[in-house]
C-alpha cells in the first residue's frame, strides 16, 4: 500500500507539471502544494492507521473490466464531436471568457485574470467552495476527535529530548526553513493579484509549514505552540470575513459581493474587496488543513497507544 501512496505522489507532481505546460499557472500552483504535499501525507497517515496489507481480490474482475471498457468506448465516441485541442474558436472560448480577458484589467485593475475571476466575477462560487472546505473540516473534526487527558510537561520534555537526539540535523535545518516558508506563504497570499497565487495556495503552504513543525517536534510540543481552539475559531472567522464583505457591500448600496461600492473609487474598492476575500479564503484553508492534519495525527497516536495497551 505504501507503494501505491508513493506512486500517487509522483502522479500528483506529474499532473502539476502538465498544468504548467498547459499555461494554467495558478492551477499548477495549487496542485503542487495540494497534490504533491498534503494529499500524499494524509493518505500515508490513513494507511499507517488502517494497515498496509491488502487482500487479494477474490472475485473475477472481468465484469468490472467490461463495464469500464464499454464506458470508455462510448466516451471516446462522444469526443469525436469535440473541438480540436487548442483551437481558438472552440465554444468554450466564445461565451464569457473574452470579457474576462479583455475587460478584467479595466474593471478590477488586477493583472492576474484568474484572481479577478475567482474573487470578483465568480465570488459566489468561491464562497460556496470555501463553505464546502469548512464543512469538510467540521466533518473530520466530528469523525476523528479523541478525548484525551492533559499530558504532563515532563512527558513532552522527555519525548522532545529523545527526538532531539534522533533528528538533530533535520531539526536545525527545519528551524531555519520554517520562517521562510511562512513568509513565502504570506507573499503568495498578497501577491495573488499580480502573479500566480492567492488564498487557496497560501493556506496550503502555511499549513504545510506547520505540519513540518509537527513532524519533527512532536504533537505535544506543537499543541502547546498552536492553540487548537483558536485554529478552530479561525476557520470559522475566514468564512465570516468572506460573508461580511458581501454584507458590507449590500449595506453600501451594491449587490452581494459587489466590491466596487466598498470605496469611493471603484478600482480601489475592487482591490480592497479581493484582498479581504483572499484573506478569508487563506484563513479558512490554512486552519482547515491544520485541523485535518492534527486530527489524523492524534487519532494515529490514540490507536497506537490502544494497541500498545491491548498487547
Amino acid at each position: 500500500m505504501f507503494a501505491v501512496v508513493m506512486l500517487s505522489g509522483i502522479y500528483g507532481l506529474l499532473s502539476a507539471s502538465f498544468f504548467v505546460v498547459m499555461d494554467a499557472v495558478d492551477v499548477a500552483f495549487t496542485e503542487a502544494s495540494v497534490g504533491a504535499g498534503i494529499s500524499t501525507l494524509l493518505m500515508l497517515t490513513a494507511v499507517a492507521m488502517t494497515g498496509r496489507t491488502e487482500h487479494v481480490t477474490r472475485h473475477k474482475p472481468y465484469l468490472a473490466f467490461a463495464v469500464v471498457f464499454v464506458t470508455g468506448c462510448l466516451l471516446i465516441y462522444g469526443t469525436l464531436d469535440m473541438p480540436y485541442f487548442g483551437s481558438p474558436d472552440a465554444p468554450s472560448h466564445q461565451h464569457v471568457a473574452p470579457r474576462y480577458i479583455n475587460d478584467s484589467m479595466q474593471e478590477t485593475g488586477m493583472p492576474n485574470m484568474v484572481t479577478s475571476v475567482l474573487a470578483s466575477y465568480r465570488g459566489f462560487d468561491t464562497f460556496g467552495e470555501v463553505t464546502v472546505i469548512f464543512t469538510a473540516g467540521i466533518g473530520v473534526l466530528a469523525l476523528l476527535s479523541v478525548v484525551r487527558g492533559r499530558e504532563s510537561d515532563a512527558e513532552i520534555e522527555t519525548l522532545n529530548d529523545s527526538m532531539h537526539e534522533q533528528y538533530l540535523i533535520l531539526r536545525i535545518v527545519i528551524k531555519m526553513l520554517i520562517p521562510f516558508i511562512l513568509l513565502y506563504a504570506f507573499y503568495v497570499q498578497f501577491h495573488g493579484d499580480f502573479g500566480p497565487g492567492g488564498g487557496f495556495q497560501a493556506g496550503v503552504i502555511f499549513a504545510s509549514a506547520i505540519i513540518l513543525y509537527v513532524m519533527l517536534f512532536g504533537l505535544g510540543t506543537a499543541r502547546r505552540v498552536i492553540n487548537q481552539s483558536f485554529i478552530q475559531i479561525l476557520s470559522a472567522i475566514g468564512v465570516l470575513i468572506y460573508g461580511c464583505v458581501g454584507l458590507v457591500s449590500i449595506l453600501n448600496g451594491g449587490s452581494f459581493l459587489d466590491y466596487s461600492v466598498l470605496s469611493d473609487d471603484a478600482l480601489a474598492g475592487q482591490h480592497l474587496g479581493i484582498l479581504l476575500i483572499e484573506l478569508g479564503v487563506g484563513c479558512t484553508v490554512a486552519s482547515v488543513m491544520i485541523i485535518i492534519f492534527f486530527k489524523f495525527a492524534e487519532r494515529n497516536e490514540y490507536i497506537q497507544s490502544k494497541n500498545g495497551k491491548s498487547t
Binding site: V25, M43, V117
Partner: protein, 122 residues
C-alpha cells in the same frame, strides 16, 4: 485531423483507470486513490479545454494578445482544494470503519453486516 482530439482520449483513459480501481478493488483506501485519479482526469479535461494554441498564461502582460481561457483555471483551482478536503473526509471515514470493523475491505465489512442482520432475524 482526428488526432487533434488526443487530449480527450488521454482523459478518457485516465478516467477509466480510476473507475476500474473504484469498481474492482475492495480496499477502501485504494478506492479513494482511484477516486483521486478520476478527479485529476476531470481537472486535465477542463484545463485542456481552456488551452488556446499559441496562448500564454492568463496574467496580463505588456504586448501579449493571446491568453489561455482563465475560466476553467478558476473552476479547477477551487476544485482541487475542495477535492483534498473531501478526500480527507473519506479517509477519516475509512479510519473509523477500520476501528469499528477491524478491516477496510469491502467484502469483510459486508460479511459482518450480513451476519448481524441474520442474527437479528433468528
Amino acid at each position: 485531423m482526428i488526432l487533434g482530439l488526443y487530449n480527450y482520449w488521454i482523459v478518457v483513459v485516465l478516467m477509466m483507470i480510476g473507475l476500474y480501481i473504484i469498481i474492482a478493488h475492495g480496499n477502501l483506501i485504494k478506492k479513494i486513490v482511484g477516486l483521486n485519479i478520476f478527479q485529476t482526469s476531470v481537472f486535465i479535461f477542463y484545463i485542456s479545454i481552456g488551452n488556446v494554441e499559441g496562448g500564454t498564461a492568463p496574467i496580463w502582460g505588456e504586448g501579449i494578445t493571446l491568453y489561455s481561457n482563465p475560466l476553467p483555471h478558476v473552476l479547477i483551482l477551487t476544485a482541487i482544494v475542495v477535492g483534498i478536503a473531501t478526500t480527507a473526509l473519506g479517509l477519516a471515514l475509512a479510519v473509523r470503519l477500520k476501528e469499528a470493523y477491524g478491516s477496510i475491505e469491502e467484502d469483510d465489512i459486508q460479511a459482518m453486516d450480513d451476519q448481524k442482520t441474520d442474527n437479528k432475524h433468528c
